[in-house]
């Protein structure tokens, strides 16, 4: 009898919650109507491709067949990927690429932001100059860097040989051991201005009176940075790092244009490899399985990003 009463109570609460939610939705119907077009567009351009990619990841698509004649193979694409030595090579490249690019770009950007936060003559000009790598086209930048690095007539090689510092131009992008670090340098050069802008914006929110009070209390510059500035920048730092990490996981232009993933797969990262599998080799199924795995990783990063943002908002008291 008690159990029955309990169940009935739970049912009643559920019904009440449901009607409460419906009431809430109804009372916000105008808001829902405003966002409806955006939701419809998102369903078409995001949800459907995601669904189709997941579906395709369970099929084999040999180059002699049209996509509509694909063959269902269950989880074979996933097992083939995990067994492939190229997968582990590409994954290790992607991790090195993402971690190194993200962290170094962040540290460099943060350092520049701190330097530019102080008032000095020519600050505006310097700030504008430092933003240039971020605003120029990644395609153009890749071609310029390819020329700078060129193993036979690159600028760096010419300068080093001209100054007598090297007998022959160094091999940056035609060697399996140097190609990835060389591309990471280009990527950091492209991305650090973004981190700089984010951190500069963050620095504006650090209360000046707190810094002055800490100074009066005898805190040195390092202590003021550790105990006042950095705690205030923790959330903006998290967001910046997450955004950089997501962008780096999804990088394509720089490695594709500069090396095409070569030599010998040494600069292939996930996206370039997926592109080659899909468009170069027409393995739509395997490429889709790769994409699903990448999607899961990026979505988990997205979760932390949203959490970081929500944390910000709660601390601000806005929600």
């Amino acid at each position: 009898m008690t159990i029955l009463t309990g169940k009935a109570e739970a049912h009643r609460r559920l019904q009440s919650d449901k009607s409460g939610m419906l009431r809430k939705i109804w009372s916000h119907r105008a808001d829902y109507a405003y966002v409806l077009p955006a939701i419809v567009v998102m369903l078409i351009v995001i949800a459907y491709p995601v669904y189709y990619t997941i579906e395709l990841s369970f099929f084999n698509t040999p180059p002699g067949l049209q996509l509509r004649d694909k063959i269902f193979t269950g989880l074979d694409n996933y097992t083939a990927i995990l067994k492939s030595p190229v997968f582990w090579k590409v994954t290790s490249n992607t991790l090195i690429w993402t971690l190194a690019s993200t962290l170094i770009a962040f540290v460099l950007g943060f350092a520049c932001a701190l330097a530019l936060h102080r008032d000095f003559a020519g600050r505006g000009i310097l700030r504008a100059i430092l933003i240039i790598p971020w605003v120029i086209s990644a395609v153009a930048a890749s071609y310029i860097w390819k020329w700078i690095y060129h193993s036979d007539f690159g600028i760096i090689g010419a300068v080093l040989v001209g100054l007598g510092l090297a007998d022959r131009p160094p091999n940056f992008i035609d060697s399996v051991s140097t190609v990835l670090p060389s591309l990471i340098v280009v990527n950091i050069w492209r991305e650090f201005p973004f981190a700089m802008i984010m951190m500069m914006a963050g620095l504006q929110t650090v209360p000046d009176q707190l810094l002055r009070a800490a100074k009066v209390d005898g805190a040195n510059a390092w202590q003021r940075f550790c105990h006042v500035t950095f705690p205030h920048l923790r959330n903006v730092s998290t967001v910046t790092i997450l955004l950089l990490a997501v962008a780096n996981f999804n990088s394509f232009i720089i490695p594709w244009i500069m090396t095409g993933g070569g030599p010998s797969n040494a600069s292939h990262i996930w996206i370039t490899h997926i592109y080659e599998l899909a468009f170069g080799r027409q393995r739509w199924g395997v490429a889709s399985a790769y994409s699903v795995l990448l999607f899961m990783i990026v979505m988990s990063l997205g979760y932390f990003y949203v959490r970081a943002l929500s944390g910000n908002e709660r601390k601000d008291g806005s929600v």
């Binding site: 084999n60 040999p62 180059p63 002699g64 067949l65 049209q66 996509l67 193979t73 074979d76 694409n77 083939a80 390819k146 060129h150 193993s151 036979d152 007539f153 131009p169 091999n171 992008i173 035609d174 060697s175 399996v176 500069m258 090396t259 095409g260 993933g261 070569g262 030599p263 010998s264 797969n265 040494a266 080659e276 468009f279 170069g280 080799r281 027409q282 393995r283 199924g285 395997v286």
Partner: protein, 492 residues
């Protein structure tokens, strides 16, 4: 009543038909080009011997007042092509619009390396153009998948015999023809006579064998400090197979048996001892002797051209058009660079591509084909066939197949060799004789849907694996052979 004997009637009919055909071929089409006589002298002897009325011929296929709409994609001119070719492309489209003023043409030019990717993507979304001009590798891939409509030269007023048999093979899948060759080419061996002289080599003699290329390359590098041979090993770039396959075939290797008279494409030969010897030759130049550009792994032929013009490269494989490309690049040079470039141009020599140890000479039989898509894969679901045939008739005509290949290739329609423009071309384009002489040595890529992946990815991967030391020569060849086998077996 007159009685007509059956035998006499047959005889009469046969004679009349033969007479009619001979008159037709004599007046309208002329004698077909005799490929068995092919030589520079023969090409010179037929050049400028026949006039063609392109608009008149195409009017028989699609009336000149036809009203329609056509979407058309083609592999256009890019940075490595001479300005002369750019001019002819422009003139072609102007001429087409003048000839067919009521056809609304929406054309789109794409580069060699982008065209396949974009076309494949468009096909997946049923958003392809009505007609497309693809590189020779593409025809079989799309025909085998059922995207293309059957199309043969007879459909646009020409005869199959007017085209190279090798080129027709590349547009044929399971006995049906799905396209028409627009142009066909074979490359030649180019060297800098001045570099040869300074390196102690005979300036007027090309290396006879690939072993000589390895030797010459080392000698040039050791004596002068410049790169000897312009090796190219970039992935996903058409330039790589066009330069490596002649070497592979000359040593007696191959991906399959594509270099034989009647290929079956059954057995993978990429790891045969002969194929490994060919790969070893590249390894020797890149790794052992360091006599080729270090940038070979990320370079394309377009990167070799400025190196050659700057006197930093002794030998390379390329098109007849490279002479014009050098002239264009020289015009853009400034100050003392201009004179240096002129010296290189004056010392530019063309020769036949070297042979293998057994005297075997081979070159890739390249070119492009033009196709019509099936309506279900085209944006809007409709194909304007008369409009498509009009542009195909015009592009593959003796006149335009010659003009559109003026500096970079050769006409797909063999009658192009008979036009006055061919005569003009022989007089104005240096070294054309050499590249036309290479045509009979041309070997088409395997006519298989898997060919683009084999040539653009597996073969360059094999080279990169060996040249970077990621694998030994043997391992790289075995790995590539395994990949080809898996691919042919329908692996993931």
């Amino acid at each position: 009543m007159t009685r007509i004997s059956f035998g006499r009637a047959v005889l009469h009919g046969t004679v009349s038909t033969a007479l009619m055909v001979s008159l037709m071929s004599g007046s309208a089409l002329g004698a077909p080009v005799d490929l068995s006589k092919w030589s520079p002298e023969y090409v010179r002897s037929i050049a400028g011997t026949q006039d063609f009325d392109t608009a008149g011929d195409c009017a028989k296929v699609t009336p000149l007042d036809y009203k329609g709409r056509l979407t058309f994609w083609y592999q256009g001119v890019f940075e490595g092509d001479p300005d002369l070719l750019r001019q002819y492309y422009k003139e072609f489209f102007e001429n087409f619009r003048k000839t067919y003023p009521n056809i609304q043409l929406e054309e789109q030019a794409l580069t060699y390396n982008d065209l396949l990717d974009k076309f494949r993507t468009a096909l997946l979304g049923n958003a392809a153009p009505m007609a497309v001009r693809l590189q020779i590798l593409g025809g079989t891939e799309f025909a085998s998948k059922g995207y293309l409509q059957p199309l043969k030269p007879e459909d646009v007023g020409y005869s199959t015999e007017d085209f190279w048999p090798g080129a027709m093979k590349a547009v044929t899948w399971e006995g049906t023809t799905y396209g028409i060759p627009t142009n066909n080419e074979t490359m030649a061996f180019i060297w800098n006579a001045d570099i040869f002289k300074r390196a102690g080599l005979d300036p007027d003699k090309a290396p006879a064998t690939w072993d000589d290329v390895v030797k010459y390359s080392k000698q040039i590098h050791d004596k002068l400090g410049v790169a000897g041979y312009g090796l190219v090993a970039r992935k996903n770039a058409g330039n790589t197979p066009y330069r490596f396959m002649p070497q592979l075939w000359a040593y007696g290797g191959g991906v399959f048996d594509e270099a034989s008279a009647n290929p079956t494409y059954k057995e993978v030969q990429l790891n045969s001892p002969q194929s490994k010897t060919a790969l070893q030759a590249s390894y020797d130049m890149y790794v052992r002797d360091k006599s080729v550009p270090v940038s070979a792994l990320t370079n394309q032929q377009a990167d070799n051209q400025p190196l050659f013009l700057a006197g930093q490269l002794g030998m390379m494989i390329s098109h007849p058009s490279d002479y014009n490309v050098m002239l264009d690049l020289q015009k853009k040079a400034t100050a003392t660079d201009k004179d240096k470039a002129q010296t290189v141009i004056d010392n530019m020599r063309y020769g036949l591509i070297p042979t293998g140890p057994d005297g075997k000479r081979a070159v890739v039989f390249g070119g492009s084909n033009i196709h019509i898509l099936k309506p279900e894969y085209v944006e809007g679901g409709k194909v304007d066939e008369p409009a498509a045939k009009a542009i195909i008739c015009m592009w593959t005509s003796p006149e335009w197949s010659l003009k559109m290949a003026y500096a970079g290739s050769n006409p797909g329609n063999l009658n192009g060799f008979k036009t006055k423009w061919m005569k003009e071309r022989l007089d104005s384009i240096k070294f054309l004789d050499v590249t036309t002489s290479m045509l009979p040595y041309g070997i088409p890529f395997p006519a298989l849907p898997q060919s683009p992946e084999i040539m653009n990815i597996i073969v360059p991967d094999m080279l990169q694996n060996a040249l970077t030391g990621a694998m030994t020569v043997d391992q790289a060849a075995d790995d590539a052979a395994k990949k080809v086998k898996e691919l042919m077996d329908g692996g993931l």
